[in-house]
Symmetry: C2
Subunit: 106 residues, 2 copies
């Protein structure tokens, strides 16, 4: 039986990728010309990665960029919902708005 770690955030995902490759923060940071501390903060979700960062991570760890982008964007949505203390219903509202816009605007 394989244990699959449930990954909840972009940062955790990133950290998991790094650990799966047995690399240290310093090593990865050096490879990508990033400040070690910045990378650490991104892994702890204390700083947001830029689009450029995400692309770098995807290239470096050989994963799909879209996979990381979606992880990042969904985090943003999660954060907003938890933070504003609303409920999951707004996801439905958002979904229908998007469908409406897509059929009526282009």
């Amino acid at each position: 039986m394989t244990v699959v770690k449930k990954i909840a955030t972009f940062g955790e995902h990133l950290r998991t990728l790094r650990e799966m490759n047995s690399l240290t923060l310093r090593e990865v940071a050096a490879s990508l010309a990033l400040d070690t501390s910045l990378l650490a903060k991104i892994e702890r979700n204390e700083r947001q990665p830029t689009r450029q960062h995400i692309k770098q991570f995807a290239d470096f760890f050989k994963v799909e960029e879209k996979e990381l982008v979606d992880e990042f964007l969904s985090d943003q949505i999660v954060y907003k919902i938890l933070n504003e203390e609303t409920d999951l219903n707004i996801l439905k509202v958002a979904e229908s708005k998007i469908k409406y816009l897509k059929t009526h605007n282009g």
Copy 2:
């Protein structure tokens, strides 16, 4: 048969409320002690309303505050998705993350 206008954004909703009451931007702005231009921008989604604004609008137009808040928050999500050119799938990802967090954290 009643024609129901499909409202897609917070701003449009707000404008519709105003027009249903046959009021001008200046009138509403004066009542709420807002700059007319700012109110116009909010109706056109060029400025984001604050929580306080939303409360004022709800009181003034006698609608549920939560209704307006949800409209506003869902707009934010819609904007993010359309803007980042991802797909509806991230709503699913976000939903499962939230459910996961709620069952595992509190």
